[in-house]
């Protein structure tokens, strides 16, 4: 550079000129100083921190609800868990919610695993910060942890008149008495599934998975409560009742033996479905809705049953995280999905158990074939054979998880 360039005249466009002026006003030094100052580093360290003690949480105080001025609601859910229209690439019921209420809904398939999602957001929740979602969908035991830790906002039932439609069996749950903080989204069964061509005789009990001809072609879930729960049921333990270390470790021993003998090929999350398709897995411990979707997307060749000794029953629950500034909007959304007709439409797509009373009658108008589908509207006889894994104390949860992870190779 031999010649210095003359300073350019300011741009003519007023908007651009304002931008340039703003840019010149801030010196680079002050930006760096601000970003790296002691306060910045402190905040960063706090953000990276892990939970902290119970007393130290909630430093920012209760959030004010801005639902009146900001007509938005942000919802984090699992994949394949809301009716989706391939042709228009949209969620029909969600569009209708926006049209009816004027509230713009953002839907994210953010949740792949309860623990992983909790691990991602718990630092912010402990500080009472907005995690960027107004509604999250988590399974019973994790919902229990969220409520216990004070990471959820209490629901105002006056905003959710349809809450009365919640099935009676789900209205009072141990982890959230009186459903003050959570509402069920969908429920499902953990049970046995198999390839009907390779295993024409089918499976009736969990022990059938250990047949020599299935060696190396069996997969079980990495969700402790389903896999260990089903083995415990097979051993005659009521997973919902009072049981302790002896029963848990007896079941874990079976799992360990079947893994080390090579009977169980892999322990997996949702991806066991891919192995059923590729043929690597012929028989699995899996989830009811997955199998329906698999049969729908591929040539139907898989069957799902609850084992004779009983299966597991779990629910995913909607809740409003502590830092959400759009509580009333989130409540409006819950209310919308507790309308029986909307619930029937969702159930017809996701194929999990619908928690809304009256949806079965509404389904008659929507898709008569599904009215008698046991996986969506289970009969009392079926429900009697499905059990909810009892709530664990924090101490038990840590210890059992630790042992389970060790057995599955982690």
């Amino acid at each position: 550079m031999t010649r210095s360039r003359p300073r350019r005249p300011a741009p003519v466009d007023p908007a651009v000129r304002a931008l340039v002026a703003a840019q010149r006003g801030v010196s680079r030094r002050s930006v760096l100083a601000g970003g790296l100052g002691a306060a910045g580093v402190g905040a960063l360290l706090a953000a990276c921190g892990t939970g902290g003690t119970p007393g130290s949480s909630g430093t920012s105080g209760p959030v004010t609800d801005r639902s009146e001025t900001e007509k938005v609601v942000r919802w984090a859910n699992w994949t394949l868990y809301l009716d989706y229209d391939e042709a228009t690439q949209s969620y029909p019921t969600l569009e209708r919610f926006s049209a009816e209420t004027g509230i713009e809904a953002t839907y994210a398939e953010d949740i792949e695993d309860n623990d992983a999602y909790f691990g991602k957001v718990q630092g912010q929740l402990a500080n009472g910060q907005d995690i960027g979602q107004d509604l999250v969908t988590l399974t019973d035991w994790m919902a229990g942890r969220m409520v216990r830790l004070g990471y959820t906002q209490e629901l105002d039932k006056a905003n959710i008149p349809n809450a009365d439609n919640l099935l009676a069996s789900l209205q009072d749950v141990s982890f959230d008495p009186g459903r003050a903080h959570t509402m069920t989204w969908q429920s499902g069964f953990g049970g046995l599934a198999w390839n009907t061509q390779a295993v024409p005789g089918g499976l009736r009990t969990v022990s059938d998975l250990w047949a020599p001809e299935l060696r190396g072609r069996v997969e079980v879930l990495s969700e402790m409560r389903d896999t260990v729960g089903l083995i415990m049921l097979d051993q005659g333990v009521d997973v919902a009742g009072e049981w302790g270390d002896d029963e848990f470790f007896a079941a874990l021993e079976v799992l360990e033996a079947q893994i080390s003998s090579g009977q169980i090929r892999q322990v997996k999350g949702n991806s066991y479905a891919e192995d059923l398709v590729s043929g690597d897995a012929l028989a699995v411990i899996g989830w009811s809705g997955d199998i329906t979707v698999l049969n729908f997307e591929n040539e139907p060749m898989w069957e799902f049953v609850l084992p004779e000794a009983g299966g597991t029953l779990w629910s995913d629950n909607l809740m409003i995280p502590v830092g959400s500034p759009h509580k009333a909007n989130a409540e409006a959304l819950i209310n919308f999905y507790y309308d029986p007709e909307v619930a029937a439409e969702v159930a017809a797509y996701v194929n999990y158990i619908c928690p809304v009373d009256g949806a079965q009658e509404a389904m008659a108008a929507f898709d008569p074939e599904l009215v008698d589908n046991e996986l969506i509207f289970p009969s009392d006889a079926t429900l009697e054979r499905a059990h909810v894994f009892r709530a664990l104390t924090p101490e038990e949860e840590t210890r059992y998880n630790d042992e389970f992870q060790a057995v599955i190779g982690n």
Binding site: L32, P54, D115, G279, D280, T398
Partner: protein
Amino acid sequence: MSIVTAIGHGPGNARAATSPARAARGPAYLLLAPGIAYLGVFFVIPVVALLVTSLYVPVPGGDVGQFQPAFEWQNYVTVLSTYWPHLVRSFGYALVATLAALLIGYPVAYAIAVRARGRPFVQAMLLVLVIAPFFTSFILRTIAWKQILADESFVVAALRAVQLLPPDGRLTATAFAVVAGLTYNFLPFMTLPIYASLERLDPRLVEAGGDLYASGPTTFWRVTLPLSMPGVVSGTLLTFIPASGDFVNSVLLGNNGTTMIGQVIDSRFFKVSDYPGAAALSVVLMVAILLLVTSYIRRAGTEDLL
């Protein structure tokens, strides 16, 4: 190609001899500031947070995942005594994968850089083929491997037919598949630096070897290989380090008997909510890699090449 060259040979060695004028330092630091700030925010602070977290203890009577600051060095003893087999396994897999990548990558790099020399179009096409896999996410490619090696695939059927696999043998969910996946995924990181080194190989030196009555293999061993060592060292490091921390290949292609240390850290953090344990394992992994790499570079005698 400039990136490739940069991997093999950092500039700057040559310039270090002529010391810059003292007055030029100010702007130099100013230009370095973004880099230093970036490293400060995204490397130093996280590492400090990691070290601090690794010494935390659970809150007495607290809920899952609640910890408080402490100096619990016992955390390191616990994770090391529990997970040393996983550490050994990870480094073992990474070592085998690195050697396999070297055996596959060196001839490829040699063919492109030396044999195809003077044919720029062929060279360019071959290089594109080496880099082409990067155009797709490596997770997708590894999932594709799962299908290719599945029990019902023709690969397994063929191996069974020629008795290389027993009738009930399989490829997925085995250590072999994990190492093969690691080798495949990191192969370009091995090939490109070696290519960059060989590309600059002066053919006159090889000719001189022949003129001095060295046989082909001797010339390769005494001339070509030593001159390509910078590429070999960079390539092995670029393969070994990420391979030992990798967990995608083991998750997708392995099973419970092939768990690598990255999977354990993932499970400690996300499944058990044992944040101090996960942090302590991460520190152990970092230190172990640092020690291994330092002793390797010492032994290779190529400190000045990196």
